[in-house]
Amino acid sequence: MSEHANNSADSTTIKTTPDDHLVAWLAALAITIHIIESVLPSPLPGVKPGLANVITIAVFILYGWRTAVWVSMLRVLVGSILIGTFLSPTFMLSFSGAIASLAVLWLASHLPGAGLGPIGLCLVAAMAHMFGQFYTAYLLFIPHDGLFKLLPLLMTAAVIFGIISGIIVRSMLHHLGKRHGQEK
């Protein structure tokens, strides 16, 4: 799997700048997670741990919103091309979810004061992702009011996994911080 990720990384870095390397590497990691999650069995359609979210949020915190957009979009596009779901309903759902969570992250980056920490960011992003997916599913594929019965369950899953990935991001940043500290 890591070989796979490296291959994707190579294919996206033709003219290389350090910035490109970084985005590609992180995107490749996110794509790998995305693909692994896509083959995991799911109790309910739409319920996935969303661990690729971890990468997006970490990138957002470390390198800002614009880089997070690139990583997130690359993950959705390349990930779906690799799985073979490009432009399919599955793709439309993760695409709209990604757009929604990026929109919320943009708002979060404009918050006054200390703003949101890793857990808050992951949580709002996960919930926005779920709302985005849900409304796309409702509008495009299943325009049926019965779908709303699933919303509480889906949102519960989003909250739980949002908090879990928030904790992961927090400890990730913690470790990174230590390493950075040592290097300096």
Partner: protein, 347 residues
């Protein structure tokens, strides 16, 4: 980096255009016409087309309703008045076509589908927007009308005139007009470019096309209980008509009197609870459902053959379900412990 951004932009645009066209949906409209409730279902992308289709159906059905109304003042009641006076009546081409088709179907049904017994239907009180409350008419009055034996065989029809050798003939197209009107409405819808639709008038319907990837699924009502007894998936362009003793009736002294009058006895036909018929033409299916209801368990196969009907389901008063092999091959029974008899097959 720039190259990649351009590709991303292109892909994103592509993705967005791929989902901009909404999926076609079933639009439903319900209206009152032909003295009943009419449901129009149209599969289309936009609501405006569906609305247009509903308007087309409403116009066509209302036209047949005013033309052929059996008890309110209408061109038909005028024809009936003059036939009773043994007069020859001038008619136009559309009137000729309508009566001609009904006459042909009556002949094929051995006159069991008999649109000439308007007086009997009126005597039973079914010439009213409301359900009659009984009591049933006097035996002598019924016998007198039956003895006069009005039938479509008494009618002489030319493209411009109609006359009757029997002054007892009173035309009532209750078991034909609805089918004819649905046929007209469907033809108009096809001309307007509608490919997938159902026109359901008071429970009888013609369905064209499909519901997108799946065929239209039609539930057939259980004759004695709430709910559905069987279902059918329609193929292409088909009419599904049911005549049942539960459609219009009154109960008097514990006995049920329904609206399907046997022209041979003058009384509501007994022994059958419902007959369901599938045929391309709604008008034929309409007349056949009535004729086979009256024919009952003994005669229905013969009459169905004569009328060119292959797919029939008849439910008798013991809830035994009789079916032709062609009907059995495609119907889904939706109840448990059904008592089914597949009969015929010598066609």
């Amino acid at each position: 980096m720039r190259l990649r951004r351009l590709t991303l932009l292109l892909l994103t645009t592509l993705a967005l255009t791929a989902c901009s066209e909404p999926l076609p949906q079933v639009h439903k409209a319900r209206l009152f016409t032909l003295g009943t409730l009419v449901d129009v279902s149209v599969l289309d992308r936009d609501e405006a087309t569906a609305q247009k289709a509903t308007n087309i159906v409403e116009t066509e059905l209302a036209l047949i309703n005013t033309q052929w109304h059996a008890w309110r003042d209408s061109p038909l009641t005028k024809i009936n008045q003059q036939l009773a006076q043994r007069k020859k009546v001038a008619i136009d081409t559309s009137t000729y076509r309508f009566i001609k088709q009904a006459q042909t179907l009556a002949t094929m049904s051995n006159q069991l589908f008999n649109p000439a017994i308007g007086s009997l239907v009126g005597l039973w009180g079914f010439h009213s927007d409301d359900t009659p409350v009984g009591p049933p008419p006097a035996e002598a009055a019924i016998e007198a009308l039956v003895k006069e034996a009005p039938s479509m065989a008494n009618i002489t029809l030319t493209p411009t005139t109609i006359s009757s050798s029997n002054p007892a003939v009173q035309l009532d197209f209750g078991a034909f007009g609805k089918g004819y009107a649905i046929d007209r409405a469907i033809e108009k819808l096809k001309l307007a470019g509608v490919e997938n639709a159902i026109v359901n008038a008071g429970g009888d319907l013609r369905a064209i096309g499909s519901k997108g990837e799946h065929p239209w699924r039609i539930g057939i009502r259980h004759p004695t209980e709430a709910g559905v007894i069987a279902s059918i998936e329609t193929r292409g362009d088909e009419s599904l008509f049911t005549s049942g003793n539960y459609e219009r009736f009154f109960d008097f002294d514990g006995k049920r009197y329904h609206h399907i009058i046997d022209p041979r006895s003058g009384y509501p036909a007994t022994g059958t609870l419902s007959v369901t018929v599938i045929h391309h033409s709604a008008a034929t299916a309409d007349a056949a459902a009535t004729a086979l209801f009256i024919a009952g368990t003994q005669q229905w196969q013969q009459i169905a053959r004569q009328m060119g009907i292959d797919e029939v389901m008849l439910i008798d008063r013991d809830l035994t379900i009789y079916m032709t092999p062609q009907m059995a091959a495609r119907i889904h029974i939706e109840i448990d412990d059904a008592n089914i008899r597949i009969v015929g097959g010598q066609t």
